[in-house]
C-alpha cells in the first residue's frame, strides 16, 4: 500500500505583535514539526481541542497557508509551491461552516462549475454532464443547481460543499470539522455519505474533529494533537479504549458517556500553556498527574508503543484497564 499523503516535519510559526517599525516582536508556534502519512484509501482522524493547531495543519495541507518548515508529498511527489490551484487537483478541503463556504451571490451551478472550468478546463457541455453525475452521487436533486446557498439547510449545504470538492477530482480530502455545525440526525447522514464516497472513488481522508466519538467512528487511525504536536497516534479501535498518553486518557475520560457517572478528571481549572511563552519540556506536564522532573525539562519524541501505536511520552499509561469498559 502506498502512502497517498506524507508530511515530513511540517510546521507553522506565526509572527505576533508589532514594534513601532512594523517588525514582529514575538513568534507563536501553532504547529510543531509533524511527520505523518496516510495510506491510499484510508482515513486518518485528527482530534484535539481548540487551539491545538488542527485547523492550521489543515490549511497548510491544501496550500491556503505556507508551511514554515517541512514538505508535503502526494503519491510520492513533493508539492513544492503554495499555489492552491496546483494543490486543488490533488487535494481538496471540506469546510466546517457549510453555508459560509458558499458564495451567497452565486448559484449552486456557478459554484460547481468553478473547479471544472478552472482546474480541468472542461467544455460547457462536459461540465453540465459532470455536475449531474456528481449530484447523483451525493444524493442531491438537479433542480438545486439554480438556487442560491441561503435556500439550503446546513446538511444540504454540506453535501453541496462535498460535491464541489468531488468536482475538483482530487483523490485526497481534508475534512475540517465537516459535521460539527450539524445536528446529530443530519450529521449521521453526512458521515455515511462520506464513507460511501470513499469506497466508491477510492478516496483518502484526513478527518479533523474535536468530537472523539465521531472521529473514532469514521477513522482507521487517529492522531491526537495537543498544543501543536502529535502526542499519540494509533489504530482507531484502540486509541481511546486503551490510551497511552495521559492527555489521550484525559480526553477519553472527559467525554460524556451514557452510563458513566459524572466525575471531573481534573478538579482545578487546568489550562493550555501560554503560546507566547511555551514550557521547556512536555506541553502537558503542568496538567499531567504522572509528570516527573524529566517531563518538565525535555520534550518527549514520538516513539513506537506497540500494536501500531506511537506515543510522545516519557511515562505512558500502559495499564490496559480503563473505565471505558462498560
Amino acid at each position: 500500500m502506498t502512502d497517498a499523503l506524507k508530511l515530513t516535519d511540517l510546521s507553522k510559526t506565526f509572527g505576533v505583535g508589532r514594534s513601532l517599525l512594523g517588525r514582529r516582536t514575538g513568534a507563536v508556534r501553532a504547529v510543531h514539526p509533524i511527520t505523518l502519512s496516510v495510506p491510499q484509501g484510508q482515513t486518518l482522524g485528527i482530534v484535539g481541542e481548540s487551539g491545538c493547531g488542527k485547523s492550521t495543519l489543515a490549511r497548510m495541507l491544501v496550500g491556503l497557508l505556507e508551511p514554515t518548515t517541512g514538505r508535503i508529498e502526494i503519491d510520492g511527489a513533493v508539492l513544492d509551491n503554495a499555489d492552491p490551484a496546483d494543490f486543488g487537483k490533488r487535494i481538496q478541503y471540506v469546510f466546517q461552516d457549510p453555508i459560509a463556504s458558499l458564495n451567497p451571490r452565486k448559484t449552486i451551478r456557478q459554484i460547481m462549475e468553478a473547479p471544472l472550468k478552472r482546474l480541468h478546463r472542461m467544455s460547457a457541455a462536459d461540465r453540465r454532464q459532470r455536475i449531474l453525475e456528481i449530484f447523483e452521487s451525493v444524493n442531491l436533486r438537479p433542480e438545486f443547481l439554480d438556487r442560491y446557498p441561503h435556500e439550503f439547510s446546513g446538511g444540504q449545504a454540506q453535501r453541496i460543499g462535498i460535491a464541489r470538492t468531488l468536482a475538483a477530482n482530487a483523490r485526497i480530502l481534508i475534512l475540517d470539522e465537516p459535521v460539527s455545525a450539524l445536528d446529530v440526525s443530519v450529521q449521521a447522514q453526512v458521515l455515511n455519505l462520506l464513507a460511501d464516497l470513499r469506497t466508491e472513488f477510492d478516496l483518502t481522508y484526513l478527518f479533523i474533529s474535536h468530537d472523539l466519538a465521531v472521529v473514532e467512528a469514521v477513522s482507521d487511525r487517529i492522531a491526537v494533537l495537543y498544543f501543536g504536536s502529535v502526542v499519540e497516534i494509533g489504530p482507531a479501535a484502540q486509541i481511546f479504549a486503551a490510551p497511552k498518553h495521559p492527555y489521550t486518557r484525559l480526553l477519553a475520560d472527559s467525554a460524556p458517556v451514557v452510563g458513566r457517572p459524572l466525575v471531573a478528571p481534573e478538579a482545578e481549572g487546568a489550562e493550555l500553556p501560554d503560546p507566547l511563552n511555551p514550557p521547556r519540556g512536555c506541553a502537558f506536564a503542568a496538567r499531567c498527574p504522572r509528570a516527573v522532573d524529566q517531563c518538565r525539562t525535555q520534550v518527549p519524541r514520538l516513539s513506537p508503543a506497540g500494536a501500531g501505536a506511537e506515543v510522545a511520552c516519557f511515562r505512558p499509561v500502559n495499564v490496559p484497564e480503563h473505565p471505558m469498559s462498560r
Binding site: 459560509a100 477519553a252 458517556v257 457517572p261 481549572g269 489550562e271 471505558m324
Partner: protein, 627 residues
C-alpha cells in the same frame, strides 16, 4: 433586483424621496427645452423684483436676472457636479479599498497609511488646499470634493473587503483554481457592491452640500455661471433687504438633499440583510405576552412549573411556532434535562419562562410559568425583574458574548447582587471572591479584576455560573452552558454544576443536545421535537428504553465512544420548519412506523406513571433501543 425595488417601494418615506428626486432630476434634464428667460442676462432696472412679479415668477436677483431660470440652471449644475463627484469618489475609493483589503500585508499597509494621512486633515482644509492650487472654478471644486471623499470610501470598503476575503468561500474559490484577479471580480466584488451602493446613496447628498459650500465661498462656479451654492453666496449681501433671493436657492438645496437622504436610507434598509430579517429591532425589557386563553392553573407538581407554554415569532406575515404547548416542572434539588436538535424550541422554552425571548419578534401566545404557584408570564415587569436573577437565574451558552466586554468580572458579579439588594464596596468584593471560589476559580482575589477577554472559555463559564449563584436562587436555567467548551473543560464545568445542585438543593433545568451530558447530570429528561415535548420521563428509563420513535432513532444516530469504526444510523429527511407544521405528528414524514392515523390530528402526550410519550404507536417497552 425586483425584490429590491419592491422592498424600497414599501418604505413610504423612501418612495416619497424617490418621487421628489425623480421630479427634480427630470426638471433639471428638461431645462434647455423649457421656455425660460436667459439666466445670465442682467437688467439692473428690474433688480430685486419680489416673487410673483410679472415676467419673473420667483422674482429677480441683485442684477435683475430671472431667479426661476437661474434656479433651474443652477439645480442642473449642482446635481451634475454632485453625482459626478460621488461616482468618481466611490469608484476610486472602492478600487483602492478592495485592493488594500484583499491583498493585505504590505500593500494594505502602504495604501492605508496614505489614506490615514489624507484623513488627518479636516476635509475642508484639503479641499481648500486643492482649490488653492488649481484655482477657483466649478470643475476644480468637483475634483476637490471627490478627492476628499476618496479616503472615506477607501477605508469603508477596505474594512468590508477584509471581512469577505477571510470568508471560507474565498478559500474555496482559491482551491477551485481561481486567480486573484478572478476572485476579486467574481467573489469579492458582487458582495461589496451593495456596500458601495449604500455608502454612495448616503453620501451623495453630502457631496452636493459640499460643492454648494465651495461655491458659496466663491471657490466653485464663477460668475456669471451659477450653481445653487454660488446663488446663495451672491444673495448673502442682500439677505436682510431681499431675503427671497437667498431663500429660493437654499430651499432647493434642502429639497434635493433631503430627498436624496430619504431615498438613500431606503436603499440602505433594502440592501442590508439584517434589516430584511427584522433583526435590528430593539428587544424589549420582557417578552410580549398576548394570550388568547386563560392558562391552566398550577398543579403544584414542582417549584417551577411550565404549563401549555406557547411562544411564537412573528416575522413579517409569517408565524413561527417555536414552542407549541410545552408542559414541564422541576422540583427542589432536581435536575431536569431538555434535549433536542436546533430549532426544536428548547432554548425558546427556557427563555420564555423569564420573558427573555427577544421581542419583537417573539410573542408568548399561551400558557403559564408558575414559580412557587405564581404565574410569571404576564406578571408586571417590576415583579418579573424582582425574580430574575434572585429566585430564578440563567446560565447561557457562549460565555464570551454573554459577559459584558467592558466591565471587570468582579464588578459584573457585584452588580448581580446590587440589582436585588444594596451591598457595600468591601462586602460586595468579599462576596464576589467567595462566589468565584465556589466555582473553583483558582486565585479568585486576583481574577475578580480580570476582564472577560482575559479569561479562557472555561473560566468565563465559571464566572457565568458564579453570577447565576449570586443571590442564592432556587432555580437555575442553564441553556447549553457547555456547548462552546472543549470536552476536558466541559467535564470540569458539569462537575461544578452537579456539586452545587447537591450542596445547595438547587433545581436545574438543563438544555442540551448531548445525550451523554443528560445521562450524567439529569434526573429526568424531556425530549423536544418541532416545538413540543415528544417524550418525558426518568433519564434512566428513557436511555434504557426510549418509547418515542424519534428518541430511539436520535439516540441511535449518536456515535458512542469506544465502539470503533462503524456505519452510523441516520434519520432521513429534515425536521419540519415551524412556520408550516403538519396537522398530525411532526415526525411522521421521517418515521418508519408511520400510520395514516399519525397524520390525522394532533397527538396528546400520554402519561403512564413517570413516563410520558406523544405517539400513537410507541416503541414496545420490551424492545431495546440500540440495535
Amino acid at each position: 433586483m425586483t425584490a429590491f425595488v419592491a422592498l424600497l417601494a414599501r418604505n413610504r418615506l423612501a418612495l416619497a424621496g424617490g418621487v421628489v428626486l425623480v421630479c427634480v432630476v427630470l426638471l433639471a434634464l428638461a431645462v434647455p427645452v423649457l421656455p425660460l428667460a436667459d439666466p445670465d442676462v442682467t437688467n439692473t432696472a428690474q433688480r430685486f423684483q419680489p416673487p410673483l412679479s410679472p415676467g419673473a415668477l420667483l422674482g429677480t436677483d441683485h442684477l435683475g436676472r430671472d431667479l426661476l431660470s437661474r434656479l433651474l440652471w443652477g439645480t442642473r449644475l449642482s446635481l451634475a457636479v454632485g453625482f459626478a463627484a460621488a461616482i468618481a469618489a466611490a469608484t476610486i475609493g472602492a478600487a483602492i479599498g478592495i485592493v488594500a483589503g484583499f491583498y493585505g500585508g504590505r500593500t494594505d499597509n502602504i495604501i492605508m497609511r496614505g489614506v490615514d494621512m489624507l484623513m488627518a486633515f479636516p476635509y475642508i482644509l484639503l479641499a481648500l488646499a486643492i482649490v488653492a492650487a488649481l484655482g477657483p472654478g466649478l470643475f476644480n471644486a468637483l475634483i476637490a470634493v471627490a478627492a476628499v471623499n476618496v479616503p472615506f470610501f477607501a477605508r469603508n470598503i477596505r474594512g468590508i473587503t477584509v471581512g469577505i476575503a477571510h470568508k471560507e468561500f474565498v478559500d474555496a474559490a482559491r482551491l477551485a483554481g481561481l486567480s486573484n484577479r478572478r476572485i476579486i471580480l467574481s467573489e469579492i466584488l458582487p458582495n461589496v457592491i451593495p456596500v458601495i451602493v449604500i455608502a454612495m446613496s448616503t453620501t451623495i447628498g453630502w457631496m452636493i452640500l459640499e460643492t454648494a459650500g465651495l461655491s458659496f465661498l466663491g471657490l466653485g462656479s464663477q460668475p456669471p455661471q451659477a450653481d445653487l451654492g454660488s446663488m446663495l453666496g451672491e444673495a448673502r449681501s442682500a439677505l436682510i433687504t431681499n431675503p427671497h433671493t437667498s431663500i429660493v436657492p437654499g430651499v432647493m438645496i434642502l429639497i434635493i438633499v433631503m430627498s436624496i437622504n430619504l431615498l438613500g436610507d431606503g436603499v440602505r434598509d433594502a440592501l442590508d440583510p439584517r434589516l430584511k430579517s427584522g433583526a435590528l429591532s430593539r428587544p424589549m425589557a420582557a417578552t410580549r405576552v398576548d394570550r388568547a386563553q386563560t392558562p391552566p392553573p398550577p398543579s403544584g407538581a414542582g417549584l417551577l412549573e411550565v404549563a401549555a407554554l406557547e411562544t411564537q415569532f412573528h416575522v413579517r406575515n409569517r408565524v413561527y411556532r417555536a414552542v407549541g404547548g410545552v408542559d414541564l416542572h422541576v422540583r427542589k434539588g432536581e435536575c431536569l434535562g431538555i434535549i433536542g436538535e436546533s430549532g426544536s424550541g428548547k432554548s425558546v422554552t427556557a427563555l420564555s419562562i423569564m420573558g427573555l425571548v427577544a421581542s419583537p419578534p417573539g410573542v408568548i401566545t399561551g400558557g403559564a410559568a408558575y414559580y412557587d404557584g405564581h404565574d410569571l408570564i404576564g406578571a408586571p415587569y417590576g415583579r418579573l425583574r424582582d425574580i430574575r436573577g434572585r429566585s430564578v437565574s440563567y446560565i447561557f451558552q457562549d460565555p464570551l458574548s454573554t459577559l459584558h466586554p467592558l466591565y471587570r468580572v468582579g464588578d459584573q458579579l457585584i452588580e448581580a447582587i446590587r440589582a436585588h439588594r444594596p451591598i457595600g464596596r468591601a462586602a460586595g468584593r468579599a462576596k464576589a471572591v467567595e462566589l468565584l471560589r465556589a466555582v473553583r476559580i483558582p486565585n479568585p482575589e486576583k481574577r475578580i479584576t480580570d476582564f472577560p477577554h482575559e479569561m479562557s472559555g472555561g473560566m468565563r463559564q465559571r464566572v457565568g455560573i458564579a453570577m447565576a449563584l449570586a443571590n442564592d436562587p432556587d432555580v437555575i436555567i442553564a441553556d447549553e452552558p457547555t456547548t462552546a467548551l472543549d470536552v476536558t473543560v466541559q467535564a470540569q464545568v458539569l462537575t461544578i454544576l452537579d456539586d452545587l445542585r447537591r450542596s445547595r438543593g438547587l433545581a436545574i433545568i438543563f438544555i442540551t443536545h448531548d445525550f451523554g451530558v443528560v445521562a450524567q447530570l439529569c434526573d429526568r429528561v424531556g425530549v423536544m421535537y418541532a416545538g413540543r415535548i415528544v417524550e418525558e420521563g426518568l433519564t434512566s428509563d428513557i436511555l434504557r428504553a426510549p418509547r418515542h420513535p424519534y428518541t430511539a432513532r436520535l439516540m441511535a444516530c449518536v456515535p458512542e465512544l469506544g465502539a470503533g469504526k462503524r456505519r452510523l444510523e441516520a434519520i432521513p429527511g429534515l425536521p419540519p420548519v415551524v412556520d408550516n407544521l403538519p396537522q398530525g405528528c411532526a415526525f411522521a414524514d421521517r418515521c418508519q412506523q408511520v400510520q395514516a392515523a399519525c397524520r390525522r390530528a394532533g397527538i396528546p402526550l400520554e402519561r403512564h406513571g413517570t413516563h410520558a410519550v406523544r405517539c400513537l404507536y410507541p416503541v414496545p417497552q420490551s424492545q431495546e433501543a440500540t440495535p
